[in-house]
């Protein structure tokens, strides 16, 4: 199986420095924040690795995992890290973050998919910076491929994937015949979430994503990483969604600490009047 994994580098909002909005509201200031791969995309990579191996012999890859990111030169760090954990090849589409929207990324990915011809495109359900949750769905429609969004489990079958999706009120299970687009949710990296046809059903993975060992990090430096121009994939680079300004969320006024349950109940009843 050949899998294309789309990985985005994001400024980690889960950081003591937090994102800041200057008074002018002209941008989101991410100074002091660490760059890291979007967690959902890291989970997608882990799922791709699990789908292309026998879980009991994770060093042998059955198929190919190609990772792609959109961004400036320094995003190659993210790609090298993905290569170190087991991806075979990497593609960087040279682009500037502020000149992209979900639609443009999906159109460029479509062109890349037509060239690479993967059986599956995997990515996170959303990136934790823009929180848009759209690229996988748009890509699936542009390709006229079936999709399974918000995947919590994936079982490989002959020529298909059986996908358990986390939706409102329960789990919806779909069978998608390949090629298909799958976007993943948090629990895709649980120990029994993903099985290739090669992995015995008794196998349990470690919880979470795998980490690269030092020799693999060294070896990743020699794995192929190519740069592609955005214009070669998407000649029309007009954005459909543009941002005019940014604002900080309204601050909650600091509350109080109550000393015991009876004070809490009294406040809820008499002050907040919510009981």
């Amino acid at each position: 199986m050949k899998i294309l994994v789309a990985l985005k580098r994001v400024a980690d909002p889960d950081n003591a420095n937090k994102v800041k909005i200057p008074a002018s509201g002209e941008k989101i200031d991410t100074t002091g924040l660490e760059w890291k791969p979007n967690p959902f995309d890291e989970y997608a990579l882990e799922a791709a690795l699990r789908l292309t191996e026998n879980g009991t012999q994770p060093k042998v890859r059955a198929g190919e995992v190609v990772v792609v990111t959109f961004g400036p030169k320094e995003t190659e760090t993210t790609l090298r890290a993905a290569l170190a954990t087991g991806a075979d090849r990497a593609i960087r589409v040279d682009a500037s973050d502020d000149k992209l929207d979900g639609d443009l990324v999906a159109r460029a990915l479509k062109a890349l998919v037509e060239k690479e011809k993967p059986d599956v495109v995997l990515m996170g359900k959303q990136a934790v910076d823009g929180d848009s949750n759209q690229v996988g769905q748009i890509l699936a429609e542009l390709l006229d491929w079936p999709m399974a969004t918000f995947a919590a489990t994936i079982r490989e079958e002959a020529g298909a994937l059986l996908v358990g999706r986390e939706v409102d009120g329960g789990v919806s299970t779909l069978r998608v015949k390949l090629p298909a687009v799958v976007t993943v949710d948090l629990r895709i990296v649980a120990p029994t979430s993903v099985y290739s046809t090669k992995t015995p059903s008794t196998h349990k993975y470690n919880d979470g994503v795998r980490f690269a060992a030092l020799p693999a990090i060294m070896a990743a430096k020699k794995k192929p990483l190519v740069e592609v121009k955005l214009a070669d994939l998407a000649p029309d680079q007009a954005l459909k969604v543009s941002y005019h300004g940014f604002a900080a969320p309204p601050a909650r006024k600091a509350g109080i600490k109550v000393k015991d349950v009876s004070e809490l109940v009294s406040k809820l009843k008499n002050e907040a009047k919510v009981l």
Partner: protein, 323 residues
């Protein structure tokens, strides 16, 4: 900019409550651009559900029913929704699992721009501006869409459910446009519903959420409190990951976004991903053993205490207070 089309969410012959938030958006947006709004009711039992779309002031209620729409699949719904959308300037649904799955696909089919999880809409020089949360709710972006048709999903907690005010909208039946080619390669297998007698998390007036600290006693501790308050039960990601609560209950950036009148965070430390899902709540109560837990920074009332002894006391206290 013409008119607004609401894509309703239908389940078992009923209009889902999520639809009412999209209707509120449509009422505001239509007023802002000087147009009307219509409601597209598509799915199994749409004809029956359409009656519930009456009374909101829609110009039309469009009904699409077909045997092949029984179990929702984006690949089957998209061509019809997109075909109907061609007569409108703005297409809106609520950012539920259904809306988030379907609407970007519809946008792609229309070559339209898509903005998700809108919390505010305002007119601006004949166009609309949308406010949407980013970075786990630590920033809001104000954006606009430049395509002739705009597709948006709205955050349910940011648009109060529309109330019917009377009047009848004409109902039109629209033919099912057929599946897309992709539909040949996707098959609905099953839906395992989590059954609960409690109110829906996103619609409850009170939400009681628990964290990993509750361990196996998650339900034992929280159920009595939820019962006395008539509350929905939520959970932190850590509690879901550890298996103490079903994933469907997760409140946070990537789970459910809630904004009830009263929110209890019990044994939840308050990671930003969790805060992103609940800090719009009107009154927040936090109970945690750790006085430095970040949850206290957003809580209106904080109580530093052991939750295993405190919550049962609280249940009794609330019972007494309610008489």
């Amino acid at each position: 900019m013409a008119d607004v089309l609401v894509v309703a969410e239908v389940a078992e012959g009923k209009l889902k409550k999520t639809t009412h938030s999209a209707i509120t958006f449509a009422q505001k947006a239509a007023a802002a651009i000087g147009g009307t709004f219509s409601i597209l009711v598509i799915g199994d039992g749409a004809g029956k559900a359409a009656a519930e779309a009456q009374g909101f002031g829609a110009a039309k209620i469009l009904v699409v029913e077909d045997a092949s729409l029984k179990n929702y699949l984006a690949e089957r719904y998209t061509p019809t929704v997109a075909a109907v959308a061609k007569g409108y300037g703005v297409v809106v649904g609520t950012a539920s699992a259904y809306g988030k799955d379907l609407l970007p696909r519809v946008a792609a089919r229309l070559g339209a721009g898509y903005a998700s999880d809108i919390t505010e809409v305002t007119p601006e020089n004949g166009n609309l501006r949308y406010k949407r949360p980013m970075f786990a709710g630590n920033a809001f972006g104000i954006c606009s869409i430049s395509t002739p048709i705009q597709v948006v999903s709205v955050r349910q907690s940011a648009f109060a459910a529309a109330e019917p005010t009377g009047g009848q909208s004409p109902v039109e039946t629209v033919a099912y446009a057929g599946p897309s080619k992709a539909a040949e390669r996707v098959e609905f297998v099953s839906f395992d519903q989590v059954k609960s007698a409690r109110p829906e998390l996103t619609e409850a007036r009170v939400v009681v959420s628990g964290g990993r600290a509750l361990k196996e006693k998650f339900n034992q501790v929280l159920d009595p409190l939820a019962d006395v308050l008539g509350a929905a039960v939520g959970a932190s990601r850590a509690a879901c990951d550890a298996g103490y609560a079903p994933s469907d209950l997760q409140v946070g950036q990537t789970g459910k976004i809630v904004a009830p009148q009263l929110y209890f965070a019990i044994g939840i430390s308050g990671a930003i991903q969790h805060l992103a899902g609940m800090k719009g709540s009107k009154v927040i109560v936090a109970i945690n053993k750790d006085a430095d837990a970040p949850i206290f920074q957003v809580a209106d009332y904080g109580l530093v205490a052991d939750l295993f002894t405190t919550v049962p006391e609280l249940v009794k206290g609330i019972q007494a207070a309610k008489g």
